[in-house]
Subunit: 262 residues, 2 copies
């Protein structure tokens, strides 16, 4: 059998990486770089190509990042999953391996993507979650923040929620779901009670621009702190005002949660 | 007011430290070293002394480590707690500050200590828990492991569960509680479902020797894997056989959970 395509789902903790995308080798470790290295060992070839569903930035995590592998020959799915997990670092794991073909493209075949951003304002922030959940100081007007998230729904030109990077054809994206949820959490095992109240900003859209989700979260937080009105946010979302209305929220709270195909 | 004593409870993630105890400054960062640094800033003095309830090793965590501070003057408890938490690294946090006096000694006043060790055998290990929960390969005979933990109860000479380090007068310690618990866990926020089955080895005793808990866990695992009989473990615990009966379990699953006073 010749060239073989795989669709693979991976979970990773991004804290110690420059992000998903392979970069010049002098800049540091990337998730894709580690995966490529493992694949080249399994297939005994440097010619194994990977394409991810999108870049995640330095310090950003993924629960369900999807990538395509173009391999020189066939290896059984389960065996490939086991082999990769044995070779990969402890903070990158493969969840699912499926056969596919060249018509599947992780970016172009995607119908939508869901990101989740987790944060708390409980002080002091837990020493066990400092690199996986964001901490924001002070009281937050949750009611207003919930209203803010609804403003993102629909199709908008996200010019004000975009950082320069890879060139894009246009900045119009459609947001299918966007909500802020308050969660009461106990934590796992030793971390029971480490965080009692957790906030989840959940967004599913047709696609996302560079740092778009973190700029959305940053703006929602400004609303929560009373430093940005819902009217000003609405104007920024509809591109009736120029410039960013909040900071880029820190990466540690962000997760590429799921990529939807079909 | 002159010299003031504080009893302080701290929680830390030990992954990036050489352990609790201050060591020669060329060897690396320690928890106590970071705390001393923060205290010297708050009290504007290098003469602030700390005594911990015991050492935790490199990579070992604490939920409730207790230490005593001898400070040159009085600062309000709440203000001291806030100041320390602002100065400390993200993986060390102060939970409680209380006034005490020189009669309180973190080691000698302690009635007992509880350690907890968390592990799973679900494959692949979650990328989000690799430095906070241990992973052990393969099936485990949980029934036998539960019986193994009961053998530790009571007073024993723990010669076979001890690594050379600080000199000790004798190796007799009393174990008040020791159990293995299977827990079904969902994880917090983004980590929901990352670990479904978690094992907790919980032990409370009069005191513990260097690496004693990790040697206890290592032996219980050998029993679970069928590589050590309950009879051989019993002989080792009662010091009727010579030498260790299992490996030192890795540090990332271990937590100094609570120090009991009074």
């Amino acid at each position: 059998m010749g060239i073989q395509f795989y669709k693979i789902k991976t979970t990773y903790k991004g804290s110690h990486y420059l992000g998903w995308q392979v970069q010049s080798k002098y800049q540091g470790r990337t998730i894709q770089g580690e995966i490529n290295k493992a694949l080249s060992k399994v297939f005994k070839s440097l010619e194994v190509k990977t394409v991810g569903s999108g870049r995640t930035d330095a310090g950003v995590h993924a629960i369900g990042q999807v990538f395509r592998v173009e391999a020189p020959f066939f290896i059984d799915n389960v065996a490939l999953c086991r082999a990769l997990n044995s070779l990969l670092p402890k903070d990158i794991k493969i969840r699912e391996v499926a056969l596919t073909d060249s018509s599947f493209h992780p970016v172009h075949s995607a119908k939508s993507k869901e990101y989740r951003y987790f944060f708390t304002n409980e002080w002091p922030p837990s020493p066990f979650y400092f690199d996986s959940i964001s901490y924001f100081k002070g009281p937050l007007d949750v009611g207003k923040m919930k209203k803010a998230t609804e403003l993102f729904l629909g199709s908008h030109d996200f010019e004000n929620f975009f950082c320069e990077g890879t060139p894009v054809k246009h900045k119009r994206r459609e947001i299918f779901e966007c909500e802020l949820v308050e969660k009461v959490e106990m934590g796992i095992g030793p971390f029971e009670g480490e965080i009692d109240k957790l906030f989840l900003f959940r967004v599913r859209g047709s696609g996302f621009l560079k740092q778009m989700v973190r700029l959305m979260v940053g703006a929602v937080l400004e609303v929560g702190k009373g430093q940005l009105s819902l009217n000003s946010l609405e104007a920024a979302i509809n591109n009736h005002s120029k410039g960013k209305v909040g900071p880029v929220a820190p990466p540690q709270g962000l997760y590429l949660y799921k990529v939807f195909y079909n």
